[in-house]
Subunit: 322 residues, 2 copies
Amino acid sequence: MMTAQSNEITSVIKYKLIEKYVPFIDENKNFPAFASGLFTEQIDFDLAYFPLKHLGYKVIVATMIDILAMNGTPAQVRIDLALSNRFTEEAIDELMSGITFCCTKYNIKIVGLDFKPSATGLIIAASMTGDIKPERAVSKSGAKENELICVTGDLGSAYTGLILLERENKVFQADPSQQPDFVGVDYLLERYLKPEPPMWIAVETNNNFLQPTSMIALKNGLAAGLIQLCNASKLGCTIFEEKLPIDILTFDKLKELGIVATTIALNGGEDYELLFTIKQDDYDKIKEMKEVSVIGYMTAESAGRNIITNDNKQFELRAQGY
Amino acid sequence: MMTAQSNEITSVIKYKLIEKYVPFIDENKNFPAFASGLFTEQIDFDLAYFPLKHLGYKVIVATMIDILAMNGTPAQVRIDLALSNRFTEEAIDELMSGITFCCTKYNIKIVGLDFKPSATGLIIAASMTGDIKPERAVSKSGAKENELICVTGDLGSAYTGLILLERENKVFQADPSQQPDFVGVDYLLERYLKPEPPMWIAVETNNNFLQPTSMIALKNGLAAGLIQLCNASKLGCTIFEEKLPIDILTFDKLKELGIVATTIALNGGEDYELLFTIKQDDYDKIKEMKEVSVIGYMTAESAGRNIITNDNKQFELRAQGY
């Protein structure tokens, strides 16, 4: 989760340090599935335009997506909140209502809740366990050469929503009499403020006897997700610009703003969709699923991580911090 | 975990809100054991006197103590760090060395690690799962009337260490040429800066076929722990001042500072010991364990929560926020 300003520092610090400490980390192949997230004011969200109820909802979604990426079912969550004294009890109620609403909707038990003071703003830590059938478990590292790369939903719409929210917030801060102009962009705002987890993918793949060979949650953009997947599986990849699932509203709005939609789809982040690989033989099963796009295939590591553009040029995929 | 200044606000906010949201929380009787903690600079620790390596170690101890309180064995931990840009890579290495050292020592797998930027100071979120044999699981709520109340280790020494650290820090801030005076108080400082979890209790109780009927980790003082235990079991309690395990060094140092040791043992916090109840019939088993003190017994709820002082007066137990 991020505000537009925090995007750069997040990635640069993050990947350098994570790479350094990889030797200390046991890959979580144990059961249950186990995920966590830390969300801090200004860095991950700006309360000037992020309603607390939506924030509570999104924190749960942002944590459960990692359980879904292991092919698990979210089961239990613990919430640790740190609050500065500007938060009223009503504000806390709003935040909690979003948390409890999302947990009820997705049948997640809240098994722990703690409140602490904070010297600055709001800090939310969420940790979650999930149930996994061992034979259905998926990790980042199971992809093989020539397997197909799939992505759920559409990319870049949430980040486009964030751009619009930050733009209107700046206008409002400069002149509070200005009303925000959000006509016709509800979908984009909702994708950023209240994303829905792709719960249906586990049901669909299960019903179609389809087992993803590797999977990862898309939080920091498709490019970062692909690079992580490639690194974990020691492979390369080729994806096609024309196959990227970009919603027409996202495309038009970004064009209006003078931004190339492909860049946002690759590097915007905030998608909370799933990126996964399947065996080529499973193509017939996946093509029936409307909300899944096949965007490319895995290659040998030596071939690198590439995108073929609409004008048939090849570029190396890049993400901040890599 | 706390600095002396943060003690008051912590408790007042905390218990009011926790009580309010109790109806939303499913008690964690599911397996695995699951615990979490959120630690923020200034509120939970002051880096002016808290070495980062010790801090990393203590964060793990402060989280695993909740797994021990369920009679579980800590198994997997996830760490989410938020860092402001004043933290160098060397500083992060120090912190991580304490985390990895403690995890290696207690055979806890680090299964997740994430780094994010922070707008202010250092924020550490830790979440942990543990293994429990269902027949050995213990919760806060299993105590019965007349059962014996036991506590591991000694109480108040860590908080006394904190008082000394904050006093010397103030002297140093006022005049940096002053060297801190910590002669002869190593034990007190270590209890605050590098507490050891009472791992031995699970081994000892198991070897003696002793099953605690309820258990809770002591983080915010004995009084708060007892009140939570009483509330969960819908009982009262009576404890005896003369039975409180207060180390002689703690007692002497507090006397020198003009502070009553019993107050610190009851309300100081930072002990990271275990409070538990046992059946009266198990008294013979517990009395052989040197590091366990029997401090009182559970009563009917209507009798209230009381302490009998050395001069045989009865007072109601109080903790901030209750």
